[in-house]
Amino acid sequence: MGIEGEDRHVTEVRAEMVANVWKVVTAEGEHVSADATLVILESMKMEIPVLAEQPGTVTKLAVAEGDVVQEGDLIAIVE
């Protein structure tokens, strides 16, 4: 998934493609390690895990299970 760093400590995790949100694995306030799965998207019968690229706290979770995300939509903020 695309991750745009705003600075060293805050990353916005965005959807790389149109997809359905199949599973939300994390929650706001949770501390995650690098490469932890945040949510699992599903597109065209394929599961696509969305990973945290750096360790931190999930300060915002912008999607819920069953949502449809467009390319570029915000999924989570990790800082």
């Binding site: 790389e16 493609m17 149109v18 997809a19 359905n20 599903e42 597109s43 065209m44 019968k45 394929m46 696509i48 449809v68």
Partner: protein, 462 residues
């Protein structure tokens, strides 16, 4: 004969079935979800019925909605295509109970072959070679490790009710097996509503070769040659060819005999496909299988599974035989004879199918989007089975297959040349497709030389 047909599917396969039905003078009914209203298949049928919102569970898997559409339109028969409800024995029974002709095998045959464990056991009992594996569902990771100790690593972990490569993975040791087991278990429950898992010896260097069979209304089962489906990514096929460069006439005879036996054991009717793994690890003759196997030592092919429906890659068999397999399905379902003389089937030339997927050509990740331009190749030996056209939206709800580019040539060399030209002139814009991968595949020494196995894609995309 059948006078009206409802096609319970979408995209290229719905369109392909509708085309044969129309040619046979059959009135056609399509069903479609809200996501597919503008696709060619929904527009080309005599009647099209909206059956629900985009998620498959609420449309193409909604049995009541589809049977309701059949009733309202007065359809006499139902063709399930592949995927969705095509291998759902309960749906086949419901359709028959509703007085419809089911264009497929008897529901009992679907059921027997739908569970990979029972299918393996039946085939072994009938003398069809199977790889070493578990004869009963593996209930937990500890039992899986114990079974692997007997079978020998590497092993393949599969969902018993699975298909399409979903949940399948290979494991080389106990730790990998525990992880693979958990993955397979969660996928199995999610996608196939059955937690049953089986383990099979994993053949590391193998070709995936399948035999087309046709069970006639008379009870006779015919084999119509093989297809090589070794070009796979994520255990899903990307390109197929017939004849297989790895199959000698002698081996073809034994594969066809095993496939016919498989069909006879389940009383098969209609079009079906028996899949085998061809062990190429030790060259011709294969490697003797490891401990307790049902197969005789020295067997170089193993039964994998049977697909009790029309196969995605059926067009290449049609190209080399000149037989319309959908027409035969419709004839057999109506209790009629086939359109050709079984003893006089001629195999001419060589055919390839390249699956054009909406995915990026390097990592093979899905790429839904709107098609802005669509220009198909044409010319001698070229057949394109397409599900989309310019202006259509490709949604994330269904599989990424856009079209099947099929090519026929007098020999493999000519088929490859025509395929390279066709790939180069196929123009699809607005989303990413794997056409650049096909160009690389066709140029590669390993594929064009013919001596490849199921590792070919990972060799081209390390």
């Amino acid at each position: 004969m059948i006078e009206s047909l409802l096609v319970a599917n979408r995209g290229e396969i719905a369109r392909r079935v509708l085309a044969t039905a129309r040619r046979m003078g059959i009135r056609t009914v399509a069903v479609y979800s809200e996501a597919d209203a503008d696709l060619p298949f929904a527009r080309e049928a005599d009647e099209a019925v909206l059956i629900g919102p985009p998620p498959p569970a609420h449309s193409y898997l909604d049995q009541a909605a589809i049977l309701g559409a059949a009733r309202r339109t007065g359809a006499q028969a139902i063709h399930p295509g592949y995927g969705f409800l095509s291998e759902n024995a309960d749906f086949a029974r419901e359709a028959e109970a509703a007085g419809l002709i089911w264009v497929g095998p008897p529901p009992a045959a679907i059921e027997q072959m739908g569970d990979k464990i029972s299918a393996r056991n039946m085939m072994a009992a009938a003398g069809v070679p199977v790889a070493a594996g578990t004869a009963e569902p593996v209930s937990d990771a500890d039992s899986a490790v114990a079974a692997a100790a007997v079978i020998g690593y590497p092993v393949m972990v599969k969902a018993a009710a699975g298909g399409g490569g979903i949940g399948m993975s290979a494991a080389a040791d106990d730790a990998e097996l525990r992880a693979a087991f958990e993955t397979a278990r969660s996928r199995a429950e999610r996608f196939f509503a059955s937690p049953d898992i089986l383990l099979e010896r994993y053949v590391t260097a193998a070709r995936h070769v399948e035999v087309q069979i046709l069970g006639l209304a008379s009870g006779q089962v015919l084999a119509l040659g093989e297809r090589d489906c070794s070009v796979q990514r994520r255990h899903q096929k990307v390109a197929e060819e017939t004849p297989s460069p790895g199959v000698t006439p002698e081996l073809r005879g034994r594969l066809e005999a095993a496939a016919v036996r498989a069909g006879q054991v389940v009383g098969y009717r209609g079009a079906g496909t028996v899949e085998f793994l061809l062990d190429v690890s030790a060259g011709p003759g294969g490697r003797p299988p490891r401990s307790p196997v049902r197969a005789e030592a020295g067997e170089e092919f193993f039964f994998l599974e049977m697909n009790t429906r029309l196969q995605v890659e059926h067009p290449i068999t049609e190209l080399v035989t000149g037989i319309d397999l959908v027409e035969q399905q419709l004839r057999i379902a109506a209790g009629a004879g086939v359109s050709f003389q079984p003893r006089e089937v001629q195999y001419r030339g060589h055919a390839l199918e390249l699956r054009v997927y909406a995915e990026d050509p390097r990592r093979f990740l899905p790429s839904p989007g709107t098609i802005t331009e669509w220009a198909e190749p044409a010319g001698p030996g070229i057949r394109v089975d397409a599900g989309y056209a310019a202006g259509n939206q490709v949604t994330p709800f269904y599989d990424p297959l856009l079209a099947k580019l099929c090519v026929h040539g007098a020999d493999r060399e000519q088929a490859l040349r025509r395929a390279r030209d066709a790939v180069a002139s196929f123009r699809i814009t607005g989303l990413k497709t794997n056409l650049p991968f096909h160009a690389d595949l066709l140029e590669s020494v390993v594929f064009s030389g013919g001596d490849y196995d199921t590792s070919v894609v990972s060799r081209l995309r390390p």
